[in-house]
């Protein structure tokens, strides 16, 4: 009998702790013929506004050491087209659909959330207050505690679904934002979005991305992400979903041991569509080797130097 990988967040049951991160998995259906979507605990959609968006000019991506710098700018079909055309197709799969909601104003976040709330087959709402590649909303909201509170409160009032703000790492102290989001009614937190970066083409002396700066993702950011998710998890009572450079079972376990209840896989989706099957096998192997029957037994078990050994949540 293999170990249980199921995890539970307030209002959101996942059959395993692996979700596809927003912006790295399209709307899910793009991968339908390439991998079995039912392998995933959940899918977080590309960010959605009320209306379709063009996004940033090109070039939009640049490969950097162990990383990917991007400024896509939330190109998307808009929430109504998603609900009408895409959501029904996702119903065929045994996986939780989490919709990433965006807005240029607090009211737009709430309006997108109300449309999602009315739609069948949505498990939760992730709030994008951390995209570094838009001029309004995004990181501009997620970098200001009052705006963070305003957006999370407005989304909270607009839905009965689980509400999960996705926090920006581009702040001095993520625990401030974690607590503000919790106080505003968040059910869980996604930590972290991309790190603001700049890559320069030395021949032309121009940025390598047309937008100028971009968001850095991939293995390069993993230690920063684990540290910030760990800080956030210690600062709040609600669960944290860890994100940042996860491409293996060990990577996922780093976040979970540091206190995350679930994790999201991002850039690795581009690198290898077979990543979920591999991570699941590696998680099972780890639990077997450690004589554990439940993945929850590792959550928050990090023994940090100078601190008493942590006790697992379920052990």
């Amino acid at each position: 009998m293999s170990a249980s990988l199921a995890v539970e967040l307030p209002g959101l049951r996942l059959k395993n702790p692996l979700l596809a991160a927003s912006g790295t998995f399209g709307y899910g259906v793009e991968y339908a013929g390439i991998l079995d979507l039912s392998l995933l605990g959940g899918i977080v959609t590309k960010g959605l506004y009320l209306e379709p968006r063009d996004g940033c000019p090109t070039p939009r991506i640049a490969e950097t050491p162990s990383g990917l710098l991007n400024a896509i700018g939330l190109q998307g079909v808009g929430v109504r087209a998603f609900v009408k055309d895409v959501l029904p197709r996702l119903a065929a799969y045994d996986t939780a659909v989490v919709v990433n909601v965006c807005g240029d104003t607090v009211e737009e976040y709430a309006e997108v959330t109300r449309i999602v709330d009315d739609a069948p087959g949505v498990a939760a709402v992730e709030i994008n207050i951390s995209c570094p590649n838009v001029k309004t909303g995004g990181m501009a909201f997620g970098g200001d505690p009052q705006m963070t509170h305003a957006v999370v409160s407005a989304v909270r009032k607009a839905t009965r679904l689980a509400v999960i703000p996705k926090l920006s790492p581009n702040v001095a102290d993520i625990t401030v934002f974690a607590r503000v989001a919790q106080d505003a009614g968040a059910d869980a937190l996604s930590c972290i979005n991309t790190l603001l970066g700049l890559a320069v083409d030395v021949e032309t002396r121009r940025p390598r991305l047309a937008f100028g700066t971009g968001g850095l993702s991939g293995p390069a950011i993993r230690p920063v992400a684990v540290r910030m998710a760990w800080q956030a998890a210690r600062a709040v009572r609600i669960p944290v979903i860890g994100i940042g450079g996860i491409g293996s079972g060990a990577d996922a376990l780093e976040f979970m041991i540091a206190g995350c209840r679930a994790v999201q896989v991002g850039t690795a989706n581009f690198v290898d569509p077979g990543v979920y099957a591999r991570i699941l096998a590696e998680l099972h192997d780890y639990l077997d080797r450690h004589g554990l029957k439940d993945i929850n037994a590792v959550v928050g078990t990090l023994s940090f130097p100078g601190e008493a050994p942590a006790v697992g949540v379920h052990s």
Binding site: G23, T24, F25, G26, E30, Y31, G33, I34, L35, K46, D54, G55, T58, P59, R60, I61, A62, E63, P65, S66, G67, L68, N70, I72, Q75, G218, P219, G247, T267, A268, N269, F270, V271, D272, P273, G274
Partner: protein
């Protein structure tokens, strides 16, 4: 359907300079791959350069379940592929993207290649021969060493017109010059297909528009995923009935596009749109 596999390298043929022919075993690409389609491929699992790279399928052998890539090593990612040894595997997803469309009966296919843009045309010539269509290749580069794999077309009995900027092989100058000369000589319902650097593709698109010829171009932007999720490879495209250009994924809606629908750098709208508006106001 595209399949994601560890594809073992079956053979490796080093060519002049940075060029190599690599043949991998991958049943889906070998049996379903069409000219103009590509694979996303990476040697090894190193995190240092995370992304796979797109390469056109140059040839397929369905019975051996293999396909061949024509690779120019330009950076660390392509060099790692070129350095693979027989039996080692590459992570490979394919076949991907929109292929070239078949020319109608009685129509002559003129294939315009720049440098390693020659890759998809070997497979295309196989398809054209099966369909009984005439083909002719115009192959341009800076110098003779850039015009590799010409033998592949000689073997297929397809005429090839070389052009080099330094005059070291064939016509001295741009590849569009012998193409224009051939068109002036009276080609039979010609249809243009182009793959190569953006400047060459743009020149072919302008030439085709000027002469009222149908043309398809294969674009080669940076790609992150190959399946339409990263939105990193988008290009501006505009159909005649679209009031403004829209970003389309080169990876899934291309890499082959109708030349007149592409909005080229420095232009506000597509040729197709401008012509449509001219007709509407005429």
């Amino acid at each position: 359907m595209p399949a994601n596999r560890d594809a073992p390298l079956v053979s490796r043929v080093p060519l002049e300079g940075p060029y190599t022919l690599l043949t991998f075993r991958h049943p889906e690409v070998a049996t379903e791959g069409r000219a103009g389609q590509y694979v996303m491929i990476k040697a090894g699992t190193s995190a240092d350069l995370p992304l796979r790279r797109p390469f056109s399928v140059m040839a397929v052998d369905p019975r051996a379940e293999t396909f061949t890539l024509f690779l120019k090593a330009v950076g660390a990612g392509s060099r790692a592929l070129a350095d693979l040894r027989s039996g080692e595997t590459a992570q490979c997803l394919g076949p991907l993207g929109r292929p070239f469309s078949a020319p109608p009966e009685g129509s002559e296919a003129l294939l315009v290649a720049g440098g390693y843009g020659i890759a998809p045309f070997a497979l295309f010539c196989d398809e054209l021969q099966r369909q009984g269509r005439a083909a002719r290749v115009f192959y341009g580069g800076r110098t003779a060493a850039d015009l590799q794999v010409r033998a592949a077309f000689a073997e297929r009995g397809v005429p090839l017109v070389p052009a080099t900027e330094d005059g070291s092989l064939g016509h001295r100058g741009r590849v569009t010059q012998p193409l224009e000369a051939y068109l002036d000589g009276g080609a039979t319902r010609p249809r243009l297909y182009a793959c190569g650097p953006d400047a060459m593709l743009h020149a072919v698109a302008r030439l085709a528009a000027r002469r009222g010829l149908p043309a398809e171009v294969s674009l080669d932007p940076w790609m992150g995923c190959g399946v339409g999720t990263c939105l990193g490879c988008v290009v501006k495209v505009q159909a005649p009935d679209e009031p403004r250009p829209r970003y389309r994924c080169a990876c899934t809606e291309g890499p082959v596009f109708d030349a007149e629908t592409v909005v080229w750098p420095g232009e506000e709208s597509s040729l197709a749109r401008r012509r449509g508006l001219e007709k509407a106001t005429a």
